[in-house]
Symmetry: C2
Subunit: 356 residues, 2 copies
C-alpha cells in the first residue's frame, strides 16, 4: 500500500546515483549547487521524507531517548518528562516513555525493550530498590548513557540527578521545631530509599534539637495511596497523645492530613502544623496552603536530558539540585496581627543556603 518515495526514485528521475541524492538532500558540500537545488526542490514537491528507520540501522544511531518512570500521571514525573522532552526535541531526539507501575518485573521488561530498540540514552527513576541490575548493566556495556533520576540506586554506579532528601527533610522538620511544635509526627512510605532518607533527615532534626524520637507517631505504608494516607493520618490524629505537627513525605498525604484535621475540628496550623514534600499544585490550593519542600522537576528533566545528550564517557557524576522550603500557612501559628495564614507571603529557604 505504501507508495512512499525513496532516494532511488529521485535518483532515477535525475539519472544520478542514490548516493548523490542522499548527499544532496543533506546539503553535502561536495554536490554542485545546481544539482542540490534541483534535487531538493523535486524531493519537496514529491513529498519525500527520509525513512529514519533505515537511517538508524545504517548509522547505528536512533536519536531516541528512553524514559522510565513509575507513573506518568504524577505531577512530579509529568513535569520531569516535560523537561526531558523539551531538551530532546531541541536536539532532534525522540522520547520513548514507559511506566513500570512500581513493579520490578515490568521495569526489567520495558528496559529490555528500550535496549533492543537501541535507544541512544536512558533516563530512569527506579521502581523499587533491588539488588539485580542486569537489565541496566547492558547499557553500560554498550556505552549507552544512563542517568538515574529521583529514585536512584545506592548500589549501582552511574550518573544521578537528585535532590538531597535527607537535608530537605531536615530543613522541613527544623522549620516545624522552630515554629514551636513539640511533638512532630511523620508519615512516609516503606521500602524506597528516598523515603528512608527523608525519615533520617526528620530524625536528625529531632535529635539536634533534643526532641524525642517517638515511634508511635511515625507511621508508614508500602504506598501512600489516598486510602493508606487517610488511614495513617487518622490513626495518628486519634491516638491518645496525638502529635501537634505532621511532616508528610509527600504533598498528597499532607493535604489529606489537613483535610482530616479540619474535619475533626482541629485548626491548622494552630492545633496541628503540617508540612509536605514536592510542591505539587495541590499544595497551594489547600486551605490553609501547605508548607512544603519544592524540588524542580522540569529542571531535573532538562538537566538529565542534557547530561545524557552530552555524555562524557567513563565518568559518573552525581548532580544534586537545590530544594527550597516554601513556608505557607499550614505551619505558621496564627498570632495577633497575623489574622490569616493564607496571605502569608511565601518565604523560601534553599537547601543551598543552609550551607550543606
Amino acid at each position: 500500500m505504501s507508495t512512499d518515495i525513496t532516494i532511488y526514485d529521485i535518483a532515477k528521475n535525475f539519472n544520478v546515483s542514490p548516493s548523490t541524492v542522499s548527499r544532496a538532500l543533506k546539503g553535502h558540500k561536495s554536490i554542485s549547487k545546481k544539482r542540490t537545488q534541483e534535487i531538493q526542490a523535486y524531493a519537496r514537491e514529491k513529498g519525500f521524507q527520509v525513512n529514519s528507520v533505515a537511517a538508524k540501522l545504517r548509522t547505528q544511531k536512533t536519536h531516541t531517548l528512553g524514559v522510565v518512570v513509575t507513573w506518568i500521571n504524577q505531577p512530579f514525573f509529568a513535569s520531569l518528562i516535560s523537561g526531558i522532552e523539551s531538551v530532546a526535541q531541541e536536539h532532534g531526539f525522540h522520547v520513548i516513555i514507559s511506566q513500570t507501575h512500581d513493579q520490578h518485573d515490568l521495569e526489567v521488561q520495558v528496559v529490555n525493550n528500550l535496549f533492543n530498540s537501541r535507544v541512544d540514552g536512558i533516563i530512569i527513576s527506579l521502581a523499587i530498590e533491588t539488588e539485580s541490575f542486569a537489565h541496566l548493566e547492558q547499557f553500560k556495556n554498550r556505552n549507552v548513557p544512563l542517568v538515574f533520576v529521583d529514585r536512584v540506586p545506592s548500589a549501582f554506579k552511574g550518573d544521578k540527578v537528585i535532590i538531597d532528601n535527607f537535608q530537605s527533610a531536615f530543613i522541613a522538620t527544623e522549620h516545624l521545631i522552630k515554629q514551636g511544635y513539640k511533638r512532630i509526627g511523620h508519615i512516609t512510605a516503606t521500602g524506597k530509599l528516598i523515603f528512608k532518607q527523608r525519615l533520617d533527615g526528620y530524625k536528625a532534626a529531632l535529635n539536634k534539637y533534643g526532641l524525642d524520637i517517638d515511634e508511635s507517631i511515625i507511621a508508614s505504608a508500602p504506598s501512600l495511596s489516598e486510602e493508606n494516607s487517610l488511614a495513617i493520618a487518622r490513626k495518628l490524629l486519634t491516638q491518645e497523645n496525638r502529635p501537634d505537627a505532621i511532616f508528610a513525605a509527600i504533598d498528597s498525604t499532607a493535604v489529606i492530613t489537613i483535610q482530616l484535621a479540619k474535619e475533626m475540628g482541629l485548626n491548622v496550623p494552630n492545633d496541628l502544623g503540617v508540612v509536605g514534600f514536592n510542591n505539587d499544585p495541590i499544595s497551594s490550593v489547600v486551605d490553609p496552603q501547605l508548607t512544603t519542600i519544592s524540588q524542580p522537576p522540569v529542571l531535573m528533566g532538562k538537566i538529565a536530558a542534557e547530561h545524557v545528550l552530552n555524555n562524557k564517557e567513563h565518568m559518573s557524576e552525581v548532580i544534586t539540585l537545590d530544594t527550597e522550603l516554601i513556608v505557607r500557612g499550614s505551619s505558621v501559628r496564627l498570632t495577633e496581627g497575623n489574622s490569616n495564614g493564607k496571605d502569608l507571603s511565601s518565604k523560601q529557604f534553599s537547601s543551598q543556603d543552609m550551607g550543606q
Copy 2:
C-alpha cells in the same frame, strides 16, 4: 565499541544458517525441538537481544505509537498519556511523546518527525485550530491510523475520541441556574474549538431558562494562564454589577476565582457560586471543594490506543465519552441543617443520563 551479539554469531557457533537461528529464537515450529532449545539457551547465555531497528526495517512495522500533546505536564494530558502507554505496553508497543507547546509550527515539525520514524499509529490533540492539515494527511495516505483526542479538528475527517463539550457545559450551567444563581458569568479561552463549544453550551442553558446573555460577564483570554485567569476573575468580580456565579472553562481558573473571591471577603458558595471543568486533583482540594465536570482522561487514552491498535481501515468514527457533573461545595448554597458544603457527598449526573 559495540560488541553486540547477532544471529550471525549464534549461527556460526552452531554451524547453522542465520535463518535457522532467527526461526529458533521465535519458536518457529519448523525447527527441531533440540535445535530450538540449544539455540535459545545459548542466546540467553550470551545475552543476545534482537536488534529491533533491523527488524523494523525488514518488517516495515515499528510497533511504535506517536502521541502529540500541547503540554505533558497538565494533569489531563499526563493521565491521557498514562492510559495510552498502559494499553500500548500490553500490546508490545512503544510510545513516543512530543509536545507542541501550543505552537502550530512545532506541531508540524514533530508530526513530520513521527512520520519519518514510521510510527504505526498516531494520537494527537491539536495545538490550535488551523486549516492546514498536510502534515496529518500523509498518515492517511500511508494508511497509518490517526486518532484525534480532546482537541479535534472540525474540518478534517478522521477518528476522534472526545467528550461532548457543549452538553457538558450546558449541564454545568444548568446546575448553577437550578441552584438559584441568577447572574452567571463565564471565563474561557479564545481560539480553540472546545472552548467555543463550552461557551455555546453555557449560552444555550441561559437561553433555555430565560436568562439574559450578558457579554459584560463573559470574559476570555488567549490562554488561561494563572496571570490571565486572575486578571479576568478580578475584572468580573470587581465590576459594578458583578455575577453571582462563575462557570470557568477549566478547573485551575475556577480555583483561582474561588481564592480571589475568598480574599475579597466573598463567601463561596453563598455570595458566589463556582463551577469548573476537568475534575483535576486541585478541584477536590480547594475549600470549598469545586463542583466540576469530570472527564475520564485515562480512559480516553486507553480507548484511543485500542482504537489505533485495532484500526479498521477506511472508516472514521467519533467516540464520545460520557462526562459527569460532580457536585461539590462551591455551587451549593448553605442552608440551615447543611452547615458545611465540604461534607456534601458528591452527586453525579452524567451527560448520558441527560438523554442527549
